[in-house]
Amino acid sequence: MAVLDREREVVVIRVVYDGPPEAGKTTSLRALAGSLGQDVTSPAEEYGRTLYFDWMDYTAGRFEGYQIRCQIVSVPGQAEFYQRRWRLIKDADVVVFVGDSTSARMDESMESLGELSRFLARTASPPVGVIFQANKRDLPEAMPLEEIRKRVHSGGSPIAVIESVASDGTGIRETFVFAVRLALDRVREQLQSKSLPVGKPEIESSDALLASLRRREGRDSSLPPAASPSAPPLLRQVIAENEDPTLHFAPWRDVSVAVAEEERPRSPDPSAPSGSIWPPVEGRVILQEAAGKRMSTHRLRGGGWTAGLGLGWRIFSGRDTVFQDLEAGREVLVQVARMHVACRPLLSVHRCVVLASTGQGTWRLWQIVRAERPLRDRFTDINRCSTDEAAARIVEAANVLCEVGARIQQAPCNLPCTLDTIGYGENGPVYVGLMPMDVQEGPTADVSYAIGSQLGSILRSALHDRRSEVLAAVARSLFHSHPSDSGRLLDEVLTQLAAS
């Protein structure tokens, strides 16, 4: 919906405040209005509840020489105005989702956020940034922030979380400014792809928006139907299935080496300038989530650097990905971004690449990847499993390695195929490891190594006591399944193990 009005030298963006009923959308907008010295208009209200929308117009800031004009709109939260909500969100350049963060209402917030994510994934291109404004943080029953982050991220989309107390204005302005930055990232994408509408905006006031809404109501069939009250809480189910046990997964933790404070590069942070983050919109959201606060960096034995250990993200920079000037770094960033794009179907979703200042006059390229469940996690408690269950897990891992390994062979770069780099993403098995920073870098996908050596090692060590029973169960399972590459490789492992 962003429009570039060259005549008046303004870029118009739409910031939409969404969220479940009584989560604090209108209160947030009013607090923002108070902070910015503006007025909020609500075309129709009933007992203090928004029926159409709340509207605020605010002009401030500069973007590429143009003034930034923000049309700030909040949607009605009540279920009967469901369709109206989507009509307003359809025109958003960024969405601030105001969620009630108290334990009792968090499920409701998550369900509504899931609906929003699914709607945006289907309709918005380039992607629309979403911020989860965790509201009511002053209440004693507010859920811990880490728990909120975990639940928000388990929904699948990259969403930033910022705390707020709308009733006293805490966190409101910060959220808004971050939202504007996300909207401008999207506008920059549209400018580059020449898809940014130019001219006078169709809607310039609360009255015009109201008239447009009334015109559109009743004849727009592209919107989702109203939610059925009896529909299963799908999001809750997805969250339960995606509980991430690898929150503290950081395989390089034990290999960091001591280093003087002044040698440490600064960790990447959300202030990275536009053009230095890939992907532009989701990347900034990921950056806000993974590295919202400045973190201590640690040198790895191989010469690379890591940060934010144990926070559910892998933040990593290779030994050689440091640049004397921004332009040289950008060139490599573009190459790495292209490699990510080419490999995208193979990769876990939540990842970004950032070129960040080291604070020492140089620039460093960082990869940030959410720690998804690697295949190895399936074996952490394998010695407590029944023999059949242990065998089933081994066969399953071998199948996954073969399936993803075959796809990885077609990738334009070398990706290692191991129990630690292959795991379960949101849509099935994917590559969950770090990407090489160079097309030539990294070992090739050697599936036979992963099955022979890594699975073989599990059979030898964790299942040592009942190796022969598990081997027999694996053999039985292979006998009853269709011939496959994984079966053939496992068969070879079984033969070797039986002989050893």
Partner: protein
């Protein structure tokens, strides 16, 4: 980043410590939006000043890159006929912009007070 309340308290402190304080804001460089502000003079358009100063910083950074300067941008001090303007970088993405009346204070006082309080905006 500190809360808006803390930002406002910091500006109150700057206002109290700098004689001739006119206005100050904490600004997001990328968008030019203010994250907090205080103005003692209603005719001083602080939002516009903040936005244009963010453009100036972006240009200055371009100049530094063009000159291949491997150093950091710390602050900028601008002397007008009757005002002093100070721009102090807080993080790579934010800066404090402050204007003071030149007849009531001097460069050294303004710079010193701003530097002393800069950390509290981080």
């Amino acid at each position: 980043m500190p809360s808006e309340k803390v930002i406002n308290e910091n500006f109150e402190r700057l206002s109290a410590d700098i004689p001739g304080f006119i206005a100050a804001s904490l600004v997001d460089i990328e968008s030019g939006m203010t994250l907090g502000l205080k103005s003692n003079r209603p005719d001083f358009d602080l939002a516009a000043a903040s936005a244009y100063n963010s453009e100036m910083i972006k240009q200055k950074m371009k100049i530094m890159r063009a000159l291949n300067l491997k150093t950091t941008f710390e602050d900028m001090i601008i002397s007008l006929g009757d005002q002093i303007h100070v721009i102090k970088m807080i993080t790579p993405g934010t800066f404090v912009y402050l204007a003071a009346d030149r007849a009531s204070c001097n460069l050294a006082i303004v710079r010193n007070v701003v530097n002393r309080n800069a950390a509290s905006f981080q």
